[in-house]
Symmetry: C3
Subunit: 271 residues, 3 copies
């Protein structure tokens, strides 16, 4: 059974997501549909870019990932369908695939423009329903990517300028909080490789973390490595540094919001 995943900022209060599923099932009644989340902050392209990188690889090869975070709907922004890392992505050409492009080369990509695969009547406010859903469903039925429109050079796709961690003048590794999950865990943009490299720059020391006035002294391997209500740093399920409180909410305790800075510093072992 082919699978289509849906990632949108439509929320769950309205009929929008259900309608997209109706359109998909009208074209391919036997496709499996999986919701990633529909609660992306409205029009938040950067969070979307991070999320895509986090979930796609846990689906079978050939899965079709539909992404509708689309502030430019109805403008002349294009819609891209691209084969990358063995999966197919359908998304507005607004940069949401930026971080994926760092990881996977674009095997082939097209501008989605063949109206044969759209709904007959196309609104200028809801392309999720009128274009993304039926196009994804037709792909799941075996329509070839190249049938959807003219090829696009992967290098010409729109990229977001996403801030990356860097070494500050004080010699600290500076990153930021890109997401706060339901448990209040603070997910940073510092991945395990960057952190390891930074730590290896002075092997006699251990990393500590600074968020505003708060210092977190331990990088551990599980939440349970510290006592309840103690803070910790950990490489989380996305492969990114997270700041957390065992059995508590770091977001609440540290009063931080998404976008706030995190510093990694190296501390003497005996501290």
């Amino acid at each position: 059974m082919p699978i289509i995943t849906l990632l949108t900022d439509f929320g769950l209060d309205d009929e929008y997501v259900g309608v997209m599923k109706g359109v998909i099932l009208s074209v391919n009644p036997s496709v499996g549909i999986v919701d990633i989340t529909h609660r992306i902050n409205p029009q938040d392209l950067i969070s979307t870019a991070y999320l895509i990188k986090s979930y796609f690889k846990f689906f079978p090869e050939g899965t079709i990932h539909i992404i509708v975070v689309d502030p430019g709907v109805g403008s002349d922004r294009e819609i891209i369908a691209a084969k990358m890392c063995g999966h197919i992505f359908i998304a507005p050409d607004n940069g949401v695939l930026t971080l994926l492009c760092n990881e996977c080369s674009v095997l082939s990509a097209v501008r989605v423009e063949n109206k044969k695969y759209f709904l007959r009547s196309i609104s200028r406010t809801f392309h999720g329903r009128d274009i993304f859903a039926p196009v994804g469903a037709h792909l799941s039925n075996g329509v070839a990517l190249t049938d959807l429109g003219t090829p696009v050079d992967g290098h010409r796709m729109t990229l977001l300028n996403i801030h990356k961690p860097y070494i500050s003048e004080k010699g600290e590794l500076e990153g930021s909080i890109i997401s706060i999950d339901r448990f209040g865990n603070l997910i940073t943009d510092i991945d395990s490789m960057i952190l390891e490299k930074f730590c290896n720059s002075d092997p006699g020391k251990n990393p500590g973390f600074i968020i505003g006035k708060h210092k977190i002294k331990r990088l551990v391997e599980s939440y349970a490595s510290v006592k309840p209500h103690e803070s910790l740093g950990i490489i989380g399920s996305r492969g990114l540094l997270e700041i957390a409180i065992n059995h508590g909410s770091a977001a609440h305790l540290f009063s931080v919001v998404r976008g706030d800075a995190v510093q990694v510093t190296l501390l003497d072992n005996h501290l």
Copy 2:
């Protein structure tokens, strides 16, 4: 694969929706189940009536739509199953099908009363689980509508008295806001045909929109037709007039709530 859709006011915090799916799959393990939304305001019949009209037609013919917004559960209100516009609707006879009835004639309808298709033990608080779910599943298995109970005259179904747009004494088209979506777009009860007819009454002029003290001067074809943070009127994905802010929230900027009035007025072109 037959499809059952679910529209309820049960929310997503409790087990209620999951339990309905368990009952459905116990009767027909191979049916596809699609959530429309479960976050209808508790017992809000009018929103439900508008929603039903908006989503059903995007599903394949023959889809079974279960609607459980049911403040009268356990009373002597009846449950109706009706064939309309090629789809099947199972709903309490409390008026939620009112707007659908304006659009589709009732091909056949029955009072749902054949206990053979209910759960064995029937509570008086959760007919979604005990009646709607198994009945919908049996229909998806091929049980005939007429097996469910005695025929009902479509004209005897309960109708809600839903306020419609009208021309005021000042000559303005008066409507109201029936829904506010996650983006803060204000969805009105003024459909494209009513608006067009009103505009055609003085072809030399253009429509403007009034919400409280706020005036919106442009009817456009896409959000991107105005600059970011400018207001606009647009025929949205439901075919209804929406008031929106490009890259912003009209609900927030105009401080409106559902039920507030909207006036359409005709403005000189050169204004």
Copy 3:
């Protein structure tokens, strides 16, 4: 088609639930997946224990129920897979199966430890993805429970000390509010059998209910048995006493929170 249900405290804002589904479908593309809820209060084991008892029996025999409310993830807590009442449950050994164990005997149970059925790389923060999901999917493919690990004596599973209703010195039946649903209905831990037994202790009287300073005088069979905005007691869809307001919210009117006490007292018939 085999069915897997998911009950977690992961919420719906992040990719966590979608990722679990990707892992499951990678192992068994034809399994049906049903969400119970993902909005359990973070790490709330007692609510989870009550919920499991409420939904499982509405699914077909053989359904695989995955429960990931797991504050001890990454510690040495164990993961249990158990056959109970014809269903299979996969859960952390942290007591979430306590109330189920009161109802169903453990037919067979194992410690989940055979890495052959895990993801290749196992994090210490997201066993839902790395262990629970693939193990559940392999079971749905026909892998035997006994292949997952060493047998566990059902009587050695961790049990929570869950407060039960009791008769107070004043002769009242004392229970507490275990859940408040979206309608503001107060779900108590007093089940229909306990209530009936208590009422039968003085057949000439009728039960009344006390919550803080509020007295509810009627036990009825449906919400509609009282006038709109009147309070009532009722045996709800879980088989538990609920305190509700017809067409209103008891939680709001009585300003109660989960955990608050409820007393049942016997009143003279003529009052």
